[in-house]
Amino acid sequence: MTGTRIRLTACGKRYADGTRALEPVDLEVASGETVVLLGPSGCGKTTTLRIIAGLLAPDAGGRVRFDDDDVTALPIERRNVGMVFQSYALFPDRSVARNVAYGLEVRRVPRVERDERVASLLRLMRIEHLAHRAIGTLSGGQRQRVALARALAPRPRVLLLDEPLAALDAKLRDTLRVEIDALLRSLGVTAVYVTHDQAEAMALGDRIVVMDAGRIAQVGTARDIYLRPANRFVAEFVGTANRLRGVVRDGTLAVAGGTIAVGGDDGDAEILFRPQDAEPVEPSAAQLRGRVVRAHFLGDRLRLIVEGIGDEPCVVETAGALAFAAGDEIGLRLHADRVLRALA
């Protein structure tokens, strides 16, 4: 399967009632790349996907290109895209094999070739044994495999996935996520994947596009957006971030629980740190002191809710072997190079 490059230029969407679903955005997806659109509901990620698919037309001035073809004016049925929906959207009156065959029937692929292609896709998705089953008898995971096979059967230029795992339970979601990742990589198909789940985004995306209120907040690899978030929204949406506010004097931020060396200019400041970037230390020798109000043992780690550091309780995660209980005094040391300062 050859990868098609997708380019959006100035694609915005405003509805008749004046609501702006999407500010004009530019986005490029390289050939064979998997890009994940990540954000909360209403952020514009599904609107963006539907504009790429051809289910929505961008407002005047917007352009959608597949390689060098301008497909802006083409309806979805002429764009040769594969789509996978959260609701599966399988045809309930057709068997599994005939669902997968649909796109080939539409394209008038000869019977023999069609049967071969369907068989190879069922094999690829490891659902050969379900070929003649009715859709109503399948589990959620099986349905999504059928949906993937159906979308891939006509060899689409791009594969578009709209929250494909959102309706599945956690364990199945993990299994299928790994499979989809392997599948996208082995096929080399250009894919755009929409999700609100940051773990899914980080596991699947070559690049992640974080969206907020109809705008692109940041584009980058999983590492970029986690370690160097462009703003507070990204930091808080991708993983947990604790927030401390205070005044910096001589490069030191003073908060309720103590002081933190942050460097930079003096004045009002805000810093963010991840739960695992605060290390519990002996309270007497610590820069920051607080009190544990709740301790959750999660097996591999211990999650502590700590009060008295800043205005709001902080979340701190540490090795599961450490013993802390509600009411304990705790000292914290922040890793200075992991503290994010002065985010908007």
Partner: protein, 265 residues
């Protein structure tokens, strides 16, 4: 109340309702095959009245069937696409259109008939033909078809199925015929049952719309009750059942058959 008492009470209510519905019909059927209604069953049974009705009203029977089939055809061809468009559009406009389509049910049949006569009266040929009655029946039965199909369309995400088919390269007509229609069969069959039975039994509208040359079965029934022996009128009712019941069974059978065929493939 214990569970058993509850079941018994439930069964009792059902039984009473059935008796309430069926007894008048049974009495009527019995009257239609009794030699003399005054003597009841003891007077002996006969098919004579049924024969008389058939001889005298054959024309009405055939006309009613042709009317119902024509009405059904028009209603299926217009009501199903209408429901699809309404389901796909959604919003206030779609709801408005849905209410508008349902309006003829709320208006008394006589008023609807008068409106039709006022509008089409000047077109004499149309006014005198049986197609004029079809127009009335279509107006009256269309909402039953659109409602039935709309209910099925709203029970699953027809939008997503439609989009999935489109993403696989299918154009509008192909999607409607290949994806939407097979999945709304149940609604179409339910709507068709309503349309056909309503059309065959419709009296209010038809009584005003008909001419002496375009009498239907219910109009003839009114005549029979008014002017003939009670036994003949009852035999007339029996004729009704003989017409409707096979159609109902056939439609149900057709629904099951298409369902089986759909999954076997």
């Amino acid at each position: 109340m214990t569970r058993r008492a509850l079941v018994a009470a439930w069964g009792g209510v059902t039984l009473v309702t059935c008796v309430f519905l069926i007894v008048p019909l049974l009495l009527s059927v019995l009257a239609g095959v009794s030699s003399d209604y005054a003597e009841g069953v003891r007077g002996g049974l006969t098919l004579r009245w049924l024969g008389e009705v058939w001889t005298a009203y054959r024309g009405e029977v055939v006309r009613s069937l042709v009317l119902a089939v024509t009405t059904l055809a028009v209603v299926v061809c217009s009501g199903v696409p209408l429901a699809y468009v309404l389901a796909r559009t959604g919003g206030r406009l779609a709801r408005g259109v849905e209410e508008l389509v349902a309006f003829p049910i709320a208006v008394p049949g006589l008023a609807l008939a008068l409106a039709l006569i006022e509008l089409y009266g000047p077109f004499g040929t149309f006014r005198r033909s049986w197609l004029f009655i079809v127009a009335g029946h279509v107006l009256y039965t269309l909402p039953f078809m659109t409602r039935a199909v709309l209910a099925v369309l709203q029970s699953f995400d027809v939008g997503a199925l439609d989009e999935a088919a489109a993403s696989l390269g299918a154009g509008t007509l192909r999607r409607f015929a290949g994806v939407v229609l097979p999945n709304v069969r149940a609604g179409i069959v339910a709507g068709a049952l309503m349309t056909f039975t309503l059309s065959v039994g419709e009296f209010n509208l038809t009584w005003l719309l008909h001419t002496p040359l375009t009498k239907t079965l219910p109009v003839g029934l009114a005549d029979a009750y008014a002017s003939l022996r009670l036994e003949v009128a009852s035999a007339y009712t029996l004729m009704f059942f003989l017409m409707i019941v096979p159609v109902l069974i056939a439609l149900q059978w057709f629904a099951r058959w298409t369902e089986r065929r759909g999954f076997a493939a």
